[in-house]
C-alpha cells in the first residue's frame, strides 16, 4: 500500500500547501516587495497545481490497478474522522480548481490596484483553493462540511473586497444564503450520521437500499432534502440562487471567475457526492426524490437563462448563465446514467474554464474601460481586440458550438440522456443551449459593432481608454481561451477531463459507460 | 382620638374574651381553704410537719425564706439591690427644681421626728425576732425604709441622705447581698451545701439573725435610696 500512502500524502499536500501558502501571502503586504509577493503567490499556486496533477495521475494509475486510497488525517473528535481520499471525481474537480485559480490570481495581479490589500486577496484565494481542494478530496461528509463551511466563509471577504456599498450588500446577502444553507447541511449531516453511524462516502451509497427497512423513511427523506437544499444554495439551484446575481458583479472579476467557475460547482459537486455516495442510486429511486430534483433543475435551466436574457449588466448576465449551466449537471444526475453523469462532470470542468474566462474578459473590460452594461459596449472589439476575441470564443463555447469544450460536455450529457430515455431532460438541455445563444449572441454582436455617437468607445478625448496594457489580465484571458479550445479539441485524449469523468462515473455508479 | 377609641374597644373586647376562660379555669382549681387541696397536702404539709424542726425557725415563712428557699430570697435581695443600682444609674437626669418647697406643718414635723426612733426600734425588733414571730428581715427593712422616708418628708431629703456618707450608703444598701452571700458560702463548710445552715442550733440562730439583719438594713437603705433617687436627692 505504499502507493496508497503516497497518494494520501499528495492529497494532504494538495490541501495544506495552498492554505499555508495563503497564510504566508497574508503577510506579504508587510514586505513591501511586489516581486517577492508575486513569486510566493506563483510558487504556491503553481505548486498546488503541480501537486494536484501528480496526484491525479497517480490516482489514475492506481485506479487502473484497482486500488483506492484513503488517508485518515486526524480525528476531530473520536467518531468523526477528518479524512481525505482521492477518487476520480475528486481528482477531476481538484485539478479543475487548481488550474483555474492560478489563472484567476494572474488576472488579479493586473486587475487589482497595486497596494497592500491585493495580497490579502491573493491570500484568501489561496486559502479557499486549499479548502475547495479539501472539499473535492473529502472522504466523508464531515470533512466535506468542514471545508465547505470554511471556504464559504472565506469567500465573504473576497466578495466585499471592493468595499463598495453594493459589495457590502452583496456580501450580507451571500452570507445569509450561505449560512442558512450551511445550517441545513449541518442538520443533514448530523441526521445522516445518526442514521448510519457514519458519514463515509461509499460507491453505491452509504445508506444502502437494504437499510430502508431499518431506517425511518421520513428521516432519510429529510436528510436528503436538507442536504440538497443546503448544498443547493451554494450550487445556485433555483429558487435558492438569490445571492448569485448580486455577488458576482460586486466581487472583483478574478474572484467572480473563481466563484462562478468552481465555487458554485462545489455545491453541485457536493450534491453529486451526497446523492451518489451517501444515498446511492437504488435508495434514491426508492425515496423518489429524483423527479423533484429534476423538476427544479429543469426549471432552473430555463428560467435562469430567460433572466439572463433580460439582464443588461454583463457580469449579472454571466451570473445567471452560471445558474443555468450548473442546473444542467443537477438535471443530468437525476437520470443516474453513467454517460450523462460523465458528461455532467466534464461539463463542470469545461464550464469552469469558459465561464472563468468570460469573467476574466468582463473584468478586463471593467478595469480598462469601466463598462458594465452590454448596451454600451459598442466598439469595444476594436479597442480591445484580444479580449473581445477571446470573449467571443468563450461565448461560442458556452453556446455549445463544436469543437469547443462546451460542446463536448453537452454532447456527452445529451447522448447519455438520450440513452437513458430522458428525452424531456434532453429537451430542456437543448432549450437551455438555445437560450444561451440568445443571451450571449447580443454580447458578441454588440462588441463588434461600430461605435455610435455617445458610446464610450467613440474616439475622442478618452481614446487611450481600454488599451490592453495590463499583461497579467490579458495572459489570464488568453490562457482561458486556449484551455477552452484545447479541452474541446483534445477532449478524447487520455488524461483529459472527459476520460477522468468517465472513470469517475464508473466508480460512482459501478458500471462501465464506455464499452 | 378615633384611634384611641378603637384601641379601647379592641382592648375591652380582648379583656372580655380573656375573662371568660380565665374565670372558667380558675373555678376549676381546687377551692381555696380546703385542707385537702394539693397546695396543702404536698410540700406545705412537709414544711408544717417538720419545717420548724429542720429549718430552725418557728415562723415557717421565715424558715422557708431563709433556709429552704434561701436562693429565692438571695435573688430577691439582689432584685431590690439591682433596682437601686438601676435607679441610681438612670435617675439624676431629672432636675431637682420641681420638688415641693413647702414644708409640712410643724405638728407633722414634730410627730414624725418623735416617732422616728421608735419606728427604728420596732423595726429592729421585727428583724431580730423574725424567725419566731411574724416578721423578718424584709418587714423590718420596710419599716426602716419607711422611717427614713418619713424623716425626709419633714426634713429635707438631702439632709437625711447626707446623714450618712454616700460611700457608706452604698455599703449599707449592699449589706443584704453581702451578708447573704457570706452566709451562703459559709454553708459549704458548715452544712455541706451552699446556702445551707448548720444543724447546730446556736450557730444556726446566729446566722439566721445575721441574715435577717443584713436583709433588713439593706432593704431599708435601698428603699430609702429609691426614694432619694426619685426625689432627686441622690448624690451618688
Amino acid at each position: 500500500m505504499s502507493g496508497a500512502s503516497s497518494l494520501s500524502l499528495l492529497a494532504l499536500l494538495a490541501v495544506l500547501v495552498p492554505i499555508t501558502g495563503g497564510l504566508l501571502v497574508f503577510t506579504a503586504g508587510r514586505w513591501n516587495h511586489r516581486a517577492a509577493g508575486l513569486a510566493v503567490v506563483g510558487v504556491v499556486s503553481l505548486g498546488s497545481f503541480a501537486i494536484v496533477i501528480v496526484m491525479t495521475i497517480a490516482m489514475a494509475w492506481q485506479a487502473s490497478h484497482g486500488l483506492q486510497a484513503e488517508s485518515v488525517l486526524f480525528t476531530l473528535v473520536p467518531p468523526i474522522d477528518i479524512a481525505l481520499r482521492v477518487d476520480a471525481m475528486g481528482a477531476l474537480f481538484a485539478a479543475t480548481i487548481a488550474a483555474l485559480v492560478p489563472l484567476a490570481l494572474a488576472h488579479a495581479v493586473g486587475y487589482l490596484p497595486d497596494d497592500a490589500r491585493q495580497w490579502k486577496f491573493h491570500g484568501f484565494v489561496l486559502v479557499s483553493l486549499g479548502c475547495m481542494t479539501g472539499v473535492a478530496l473529502s472522504a466523508n461528509l464531515v470533512t466535506l462540511l468542514l471545508f465547505y463551511e470554511l471556504f464559504s466563509l472565506l469567500a465573504w471577504p473576497l466578495i466585499v473586497h471592493e468595499r463598495t456599498p453594493e459589495a457590502f450588500r452583496a456580501g450580507v446577502k451571500y452570507l445569509v444564503y450561505i449560512l442558512s444553507g450551511g445550517g441545513m447541511v449541518f442538520a443533514g449531516v448530523a441526521l445522516v450520521y445518526w442514521l448510519a453511524d457514519s458519514a463515509q462516502f461509499m460507491p453505491g451509497g452509504l445508506l444502502s437500499h437494504s437499510m430502508l427497512d431499518e431506517l425511518p423513511r421520513g428521516g432519510l427523506i429529510a436528510a436528503c432534502c436538507l442536504l440538497l437544499a443546503g448544498f443547493g444554495v451554494k450550487a445556485a439551484l433555483m429558487p435558492l440562487h438569490g445571492w448569485v446575481p448580486d455577488a458576482h458583479p460586486a466581487a472583483p472579476a478574478p474572484f467572480s471567475a473563481v466563484l462562478s467557475g468552481v465555487m458554485v460547482a462545489v455545491g453541485v459537486f457536493a450534491i453529486l457526492r451526497v446523492l451518489l455516495e451517501i444515498f446511492g442510486p437504488a435508495l434514491l429511486v426508492e425515496l423518489g426524490v429524483l423527479p423533484w430534483l429534476a423538476g427544479f433543475a429543469g426549471v432552473a435551466v430555463v428560467a435562469a437563462a430567460i433572466l439572463a436574457v433580460a439582464e443588461d449588466d454583463l457580469k449579472r448576465r454571466l451570473a445567471y448563465s452560471t445558474i443555468s449551466q450548473m442546473a444542467y449537471v443537477s438535471l443530468a444526475v437525476t437520470l443516474l446514467d453513467p454517460t450523462a453523469l460523465a458528461g455532467a462532470l466534464a461539463h463542470i470542468t469545461h464550464h469552469a474554464f469558459f465561464k472563468g474566462g468570460l469573467f476574466f474578459c468582463a473584468g478586463s473590460i471593467l478595469a480598462l474601460t469601466g463598462l458594465r452594461k452590454i448596451s454600451r459596449m459598442r466598439g469595444l472589439g476594436r479597442r480591445m481586440p484580444w479580449t473581445a476575441g477571446t470573449l467571443t470564443l468563450l461565448a461560442l463555447a458556452m453556446m455549445g458550438i463544436p469543437p469547443l469544450s462546451g460542446f463536448v460536455g453537452k454532447w456527452t450529457l445529451g447522448s447519455g440522456m438520450a440513452q437513458a430515455g430522458g428525452f424531456g431532460h434532453l429537451a430542456v438541455i437543448l432549450l437551455g443551449s438555445l437560450l444561451a445563444a440568445v443571451y450571449l449572441w447580443p454580447v458578441i454582436y454588440r462588441i463588434w459593432q461600430r461605435p455610435e455617437d455617445g458610446d464610450p468607445m467613440q474616439d475622442g478625448p478618452s481614446a487611450d481608454v481600454g488599451r490592453e496594457r495590463r499583461r497579467w489580465m490579458l495572459f489570464a484571458v488568453l490562457a482561458a481561451g486556449c484551455i477552452t479550445i484545447a479541452l474541446g479539441v483534445a477532449a478524447g485524449l487520455p488524461g483529459f477531463p472527459l476520460e477522468l469523468a468517465r472513470l469517475a462515473a464508473d466508480q460512482l455508479l459501478g458500471v462501465s459507460a464506455w464499452k | 382620638m378615633n384611634r384611641r377609641r378603637a384601641g379601647r374597644i379592641l382592648t375591652a373586647v380582648l379583656i372580655a374574651a380573656l375573662a371568660v376562660p380565665l374565670m372558667y379555669g380558675m373555678v376549676q382549681l381546687p377551692a381555696p381553704g380546703h385542707a385537702d387541696a394539693p397546695a396543702h397536702t404536698n410540700v406545705s404539709a412537709g414544711y408544717i410537719e417538720r419545717g420548724a424542726e429542720l429549718g430552725g425557725s418557728e415562723n415557717l415563712v421565715t424558715g422557708v425564706l431563709l433556709n429552704f428557699r434561701a436562693l429565692d430570697t438571695f435573688g430577691e435581695v439582689l432584685v431590690i439591690f439591682t433596682a437601686w443600682l438601676a435607679v441610681a444609674a438612670v435617675a439624676g437626669t431629672a432636675s431637682n427644681a420641681e420638688r415641693d418647697p413647702v414644708p409640712p406643718s410643724p405638728v407633722v414635723d414634730y410627730v414624725i421626728r418623735l416617732l422616728g426612733p421608735f419606728i427604728a426600734i420596732f423595726a429592729l425588733f421585727v428583724i431580730v425576732n423574725g424567725h419566731v414571730l411574724p416578721g423578718g428581715g424584709f418587714q423590718g427593712g420596710v419599716l426602716l425604709g419607711a422611717m427614713l422616708i418619713l424623716l425626709s418628708l419633714v426634713m429635707d431629703a438631702e439632709t437625711v441622705a447626707r446623714a450618712v456618707s454616700a460611700r457608706s450608703w452604698i455599703w449599707l444598701r449592699a449589706t443584704g447581698v453581702l451578708v447573704f452571700a457570706m452566709v451562703a458560702v459559709m454553708g459549704l463548710p458548715l452544712a455541706g451545701y451552699l446556702f445551707g445552715l448548720p444543724d447546730e442550733p446556736g450557730l444556726r440562730q446566729v446566722l439566721t439573725v445575721a441574715l435577717e439583719l443584713g436583709i433588713g438594713i439593706g432593704g431599708g437603705a435601698v428603699l430609702a435610696g429609691l426614694f432619694f433617687a426619685i426625689a432627686g436627692a441622690d448624690r451618688s
Partner: protein
C-alpha cells in the same frame, strides 16, 4: 463502583487561591507582590487540577472528606469526571484571566480588593466543581455570589451599583430556591450526596419530585441565566472586562449550569428523569431561549451587551443538551462548558482590549479596528466562528454531538433550532467582523495606522492563547489528555455505560 482515593489535592486546589486571596489582601498596594501571588496561585492551582487528570481518566475518583456539617450532610470534596472537567476549564482560564486582568486593570483603584476577590472567586468555583454533595456545592455557590459582588461593583458608580444590586437580588433569590430544594431533597432522601446515577427514585412521589426539580433548576437557572431569570447578566456588563469574562465564561454562569448538570445527572439521574418527563419541558424552554436570546443579542449595540445576550443563548445549549437525556447530548453538554468558556472569554478579552486600546465600546464604532489591532480581531473572528459552528472550531463539536443527541432523543426539532441559533449567531458576530475588517477607519485624529494603540502584551497574550485553544478544542479534541476524553468519561458515568460512546 469506581475506586475512590482519599487525596488532599482537591482541598489544596481550593485552598491555594484562598491563601492567595489572603496574601493579596495583605500586600495591599504593592503591585509586584500582588501580581506574584495571583500568578503563583493560578499556576499552582493549574498544576494541582491538571495533575488529577490522568487519574480521573483512568477512572479514579479522588475524595477528601471533612466531618459532617449537619447530620447526614458531610462537607467534602469528591473529584469525579464532571467536576474535574469543570475545574480544569476554570483553572486553565483563571491563569489566562489573571494575566489579562493584570494588564487590563493596571492603574485602577482598589486593586488589592479586586485581585483578592478575584482569587476567592476561583477558589469557590473549584469548590463548586469538587463538591461532594449539594450542600458543599451550595456553600461555594453562595460564596461565589458574594465574592463576585465586589467585582461587579468595582467601578463604584451608579450603574455598577445598580447592576450589582440586580445581580445580588437575582442570585440570592436563586440561592433561596436551591436551599428550599435542598431541604426538600434532604427530607425525602436523607442525603445530599451526589451519586453517579442520582439519589432520588420514583417512590418519593410525583409532587415532591416536581417541586425539587423546579426549585433546583430554577435556583441554578438564575446563575445559568435561564431566560426568565436572566436579567442580571446583561446588566452586569458594567463590570471591568476581566470580571465580565469571569462571570460569563468561567465562574458564575458555569456554576449555574454545572448545578443544573448535577441536578439532572447526579440528583435525579437519567432514568428517573426520563420516566418523569420534566426534562422535555426544560429542553423546550432551552430551545426557546436559544433563539430568543440570540435575537436579543442581535439588537444590542454595545459589544459587551451583545456578548452577554450571546452568553444567555449559549448557556441554553448546555441546558438543552443536558435535558435531552441521551449520552451523546450529555457529552455535548459537558464539552460545551469548555467550548463556550474558551470562545466566550476570547471575545470578552478582545472587547476589553479594544476598549482599552481605542476606547470603543459599540458595534458601530468598530469600523477599521481590524487594521489597528489585527491580531486581536483575528482572535475575535476565530471565536465568533466557533459560535457560529464552523467545523474545526470548538463550537462545532458541541453542535455535532448535540444534534446526534437530539436525534437520539427523537427530538430532531432541536437540530433545527440549533441551526437557526447558529445563523443568528452569524448574524450578530459577522457584522462586527465586517465592521472591523472591511470598513475604513473613520478619519479622525489619532486613527493613524502608524501609531497603533498600545495594548499591553499581558492582554494580547491571553487573547491569542485562548484563540488557540478555541481551535485546539475543536480540531484537536481527541488528542490524548484533552478534556474531551474526560467529558466523555463523565457522560459515560452518568449513563452507566461501560463502553466508550460510539
Amino acid at each position: 463502583m469506581t475506586p475512590e482515593l482519599v487525596d488532599i489535592r482537591p482541598l489544596l486546589a481550593v485552598l491555594v487561591s484562598l491563601a492567595c486571596a489572603g496574601a493579596v489582601f495583605a500586600v495591599r498596594h504593592r503591585a509586584r507582590w500582588r501580581a506574584f501571588w495571583s500568578l503563583a496561585a493560578a499556576g499552582i492551582k493549574f498544576a494541582l487540577v491538571w495533575s488529577m487528570l490522568p487519574g480521573a481518566l483512568a477512572g479514579r475518583v479522588y475524595v477528601y472528606q471533612f466531618g459532617e456539617l449537619l447530620p447526614g450532610v458531610a462537607f467534602g470534596f469528591r473529584v469525579d469526571a464532571l467536576g474535574l472537567f469543570f475545574a480544569l476549564v476554570s483553572s486553565t482560564l483563571w491563569v489566562l484571566t489573571t494575566i489579562y486582568a493584570l494588564g487590563y486593570m493596571r492603574g485602577s483603584h482598589s486593586l488589592h480588593r479586586f485581585f483578592g476577590f478575584f482569587a476567592l472567586c476561583i477558589s469557590t468555583t473549584v469548590g463548586i466543581a469538587f463538591a461532594e454533595n449539594l450542600l458543599t456545592l451550595f456553600v461555594f455557590y453562595e460564596l461565589l455570589t458574594i465574592c463576585t459582588y465586589p467585582l461587579i461593583m468595582h467601578n463604584e458608580d451608579l450603574a455598577a451599583r445598580r447592576a450589582a444590586r440586580k445581580y445580588l437580588v437575582y442570585t440570592l433569590f436563586g440561592g433561596g430556591l436551591i436551599l428550599a430544594g435542598m431541604v426538600l431533597l434532604h427530607s425525602v432522601t436523607g442525603t445530599l450526596s451526589l451519586a453517579e446515577t442520582g439519589i432520588l427514585d420514583a417512590s418519593v412521589g410525583d409532587h415532591w419530585l416536581l417541586a425539587i426539580f423546579l426549585l433546583l433548576i430554577a435556583g441554578f437557572g438564575v446563575k445559568a441565566a435561564l431566560m426568565p431569570l436572566h436579567a442580571w447578566l446583561p446588566a452586569a456588563m458594567v463590570a471591568p472586562t476581566p470580571v465580565s469574562a469571569l462571570l460569563h465564561a468561567v465562574a458564575v454562569v458555569k456554576a449555574g449550569v454545572f448545578g443544573i448538570l448535577r441536578t439532572i445527572y447526579n440528583v435525579f439521574g437519567i432514568d428517573l428523569l426520563r420516566d418523569l418527563g420534566y426534562a422535555d419541558w426544560l429542553a423546550m424552554l432551552a430551545g426557546v431561549i436559544m433563539v430568543v436570546a440570540s435575537v436579543q443579542a442581535l439588537r444590542q449595540k454595545e459589544i459587551k451587551a451583545r456578548l452577554a445576550w450571546s452568553t444567555i443563548s449559549q448557556l441554553s445549549y448546555i441546558v438543552l443538551a443536558a435535558a435531552l437525556l441521551t449520552p451523546l447530548a450529555a457529552l455535548a453538554a459537558i464539552i460545551h462548558i469548555a467550548n463556550q468558556a474558551f470562545s466566550k472569554i476570547t471575545l470578552f478579552f478582545v472587547a476589553g482590549a479594544i476598549e482599552r486600546g481605542t476606547g470603543r465600546k459599540r458595534v458601530d464604532e468598530l469600523a477599521g479596528v481590524g487594521r489597528l489591532m489585527p491580531w486581536t480581531m483575528a482572535a475575535f473572528t476565530l471565536a465568533s466562528l466557533s459560535f457560529i459552528g464552523v467545523p474545526l472550531m470548538a463550537g462545532f463539536v458541541t453542535k455535532w454531538y448535540l444534534s446526534l443527541g437530539a436525534l437520539d432523543a427523537g427530538a430532531g426539532i432541536y437540530v433545527a433550532v440549533m441551526v437557526i441559533s447558529g445563523l443568528l449567531n452569524a448574524a450578530y458576530w459577522l457584522p462586527m467582523i465586517h465592521q472591523a475588517f472591511f470598513k475604513p477607519l473613520p478619519s479622525e485624529p489619532g486613527n493613524d495606522l502608524r501609531n497603533r494603540p498600545r495594548v499591553s502584551s499581558m492582554m494580547i497574550g491571553p487573547i491569542l492563547v485562548c484563540a488557540a485553544y478555541v481551535i485546539l478544542l475543536g480540531a484537536g479534541a481527541s488528542a490524548p489528555s484533552m478534556p474531551f476524553s474526560l467529558a466523555e468519561a463523565a457522560a459515560r458515568f452518568a449513563f452507566e455505560l461501560e463502553v466508550p460512546l460510539e
